[in-house]
Symmetry: C2
Subunit: 449 residues, 2 copies
């Protein structure tokens, strides 16, 4: 049932139980972020000791809230949580987010069993406990921290709140943005598979980034992934690869990581794109969200930095893409294109000292000759006018151009924001750009490189 | 002769030939950066068409400069360069930097031979041509672009100007800083080996980061590296690893990359720490500059983010370090340390929701038990007071603590600057932190992991 989490993501009213005026507490941060994030539904702070919090009337209990309640966010000691959730369900709430820790991860299986009983008996859908909440931009609902309001195409589902916050933080800094982050916590109810199903059907989400320590129900997870991948790429970082990592994962979320070769085999079989580390998870999500899928393995590298071009070639060849030698026809056409006199007319095409229009002319020729499937533009110096140029190229060639911008100081930072606003992915190094291109290529081929 | 490049780095006067008031030109940027970089020697713009440039009197020729001249920086068309260098040598200059391109890389071997003749006949030491200049902070001499004035422990020697600028840009953004960047260009004279020898003897430089496409004289390079490594780590990113990369390197700097297995073997044999990509070059340089060398392979991971801790363990075990299980004695001591109630007292030590002092108490216990050789502190949320805490730890345990700070928003950015100012290395992900620690470990063991 892909839509049964609408009660969570599309909530029109939310209570924060444990809201407080103390700015050092999570109960404050979450209420503040719901308000600052632009949520347009009703918001009810619940705290028996306060009259008003952050300018809103506070209520002593969930039951005393006037009017309807869709979602309850709980930030109180573990022993009190089940009672509050029951009260919320009694009031008609259909979803709960439990931020509070102190359950299974602290040996309190009994308290966790109580939450499971609430789910069974009331039908309330619960995220957590022991989690960092959710942020869903289409509903302007940031029931999490830090505050993130940059809209983009990436949904992050994570067994680690910090991993979700880190990806979101990068997406904010770069102007790439998110549709959602969900921190899974102990998963008494809502699990990674429910969320894959939900974001598969979410029109704002173009790619799903998953951080997993283990899957609760492997078969169901694989089934959901198989159904999603024809429509939407999924990128996964799975930890617990080594013996020590598996031991640590077992302590963290009591996940049974399983043998890594098994998970890796599943990824290859079903077409999950596996990231080797945290930055790659972000890069692959970015590339697969922004670039056309499965076009082909041939990359043309056009660069103002010879050294950076070589790094791109090395990485491409290492990861199964190719940077093919141009045919004599292509080279002849490049010779007619009025490129800078010292340009090296090969692949990588090294423009040396150049302007934005030199990149444009070069790519024009290559596109005309169908010389490549993807285009990597490397700016190795400030390139004024980069955004306009790449946008024009994109109109002509579709989403087949990625940018690596480096060594560009403040101009680089500004152009990166503009390029991301225009939907063009920018990477901090040539190697990471190749990773993003590879993910887009794999996304269209069921990961069968 | 390690000191014979003092004429370049310790110059007390510099002419910029091709200086111009046009802010779009390199001849402007370099003059402006020498001035803005705080150079205290005399500076002479040379341009026959101008009276004053950037507030300084301009001279029509090098010969017309009043007084002594140590260094000449040349940014004029290639055909004019040799004549200007001879004129500068005639005036007593002992070093030249040729920014101009249009030599060997454009097929003009004849012009390059002229420069070699100048070196032979006058003894002038030349950097370039076709390069991005040098920046040497101890002499406040930024004869390069972009302007970088952040002082730190890392000297960058690079066959790519962009690679040098990129590393310097990161070092500025993070407050880590540099001692020097040198862009080698076509190397008619000064080569990577000369510079390794120079920075080996430079007291401000604690680590050398090299980007190479090939070495001009392999034997001499290996000899210089062998002499340097007992005193100072060298980290190298060598491109041209794949067949396509070797082809591209041959086009870029006419370097003969050679078989990669040979270079890799040399690295292992002599103890050069090889980086697999551009970010790793930076991370390894940072780790080996800031952390104690060769302490041992055991890493204790202390974290507020369980997931991030697992990623660190996976990476450590993949790269030959260990995150050992703590002994019952250590666990018992941790139990007495008044850590947060939900903390998981293992390695990684997951403090969950915690304060700076919890990290301090935990590391105190571990140090007391000699439970590890290096300490990785992962902050998975804003941790107010992080810098003061890590500084106190450092006083107690020496330079054995690295930090990975992620998901911390603005607090993270501020604390990162403070931590780097205090000499404590900070990495953006757990995996990259492990890379930095590994580099410091290898630096003390001759790379024999």
């Amino acid at each position: 049932m892909p839509t049964d989490l609408d009660c969570l993501f599309q909530a029109r009213s939310a209570a924060v139980v444990g809201a407080t005026p103390n700015p050092d507490k999570l109960g404050h941060a979450i209420l503040a972020n719901i308000l600052a994030g632009g949520f347009t539904g009703r918001v009810y702070p619940v705290n028996p000791k306060e009259d008003r919090i952050l300018g809103l009337p506070a209520y002593p209990t969930v039951s005393s809230i006037p009017g309807d309640l869709d979602l309850v966010v709980v930030v109180v000691p573990a022993a009190l949580v089940a009672g509050i959730l029951r009260e919320a369900a009694g009031k008609g709430a259909r979803a709960g987010i439990v931020i509070s820790g102190g359950f299974r991860e602290s040996g309190r299986l009994d308290l966790e069993d109580e939450l499971k009983a609430v789910v069974r008996q009331t039908g309330l859908r619960i995220v957590g406990p022991n989690c960092q909440g959710i942020n869903y931009r289409p509903n302007h609902l940031c029931a999490s921290w830090p505050l993130v309001t940059a809209n983009g195409p990436m949904a992050v589902i994570s067994q680690s709140g910090t991993v979700a916050a880190t990806l979101a933080g990068w997406a904010v800094d770069e102007g790439f943005g998110i549709t959602a982050t969900v921190s899974l916590g102990n998963q008494v109810d809502v699990c990674e598979t429910d969320l894959v199903e939900y974001f598969a059907g979410d029109p704002a989400t173009r790619t799903i980034a998953l951080y997993l320590e283990g899957a609760r129900d492997g078969r169901r997870f694989v089934r959901a992934v198989r159904q999603t991948l024809p429509h939407k790429p999924i990128v996964v970082l799975k930890s617990g690869v080594t013996a020590g990592g598996q031991r640590a994962a077992a302590s963290h979320t009591r996940s049974l990581a399983g043998r890594d070769e098994v998970f890796d085999g599943v990824c290859r079989q079903v077409g999950l794109i596996r990231a080797p580390n945290l930055e790659a998870l972000y890069d692959y999500a970015k590339g697969s969200a922004a670039l056309a899928h499965g076009v082909g393995p041939r990359v043309a590298v056009i660069t103002s930095s010879g050294g950076s071009g070589i790094l791109a070639v090395d990485e491409a060849e290492r990861c199964g893409l190719s940077v093919p030698v141009f045919s004599p026809q292509v080279t002849a056409a490049l010779r007619e294109a009025h490129l800078p006199p010292n340009a090296i007319l090969a692949n990588p095409l090294d423009l040396t000292v150049c302007l934005a229009q030199d990149f444009e002319r070069a790519v024009d020729v290559l596109v005309g000759c169908e010389a490549a499937d993807y285009y990597l533009l490397i700016f190795g110096d400030p390139i004024p006018g980069a955004t306009g140029m790449v946008q024009r190229l994109r109109e002509r060639i579709g989403s087949r151009a990625a940018v690596s911008y480096l060594g560009g100081g403040e101009v680089e930072k500004e152009e990166r924001l503009r390029l991301h606003a225009a939907g063009i992915p920018v990477f901090p190094t040539p190697e990471r750009a190749i990773g993003g291109i590879r993910a887009a290529y794999l996304a269209g081929r069921g990961n069968k490189l």
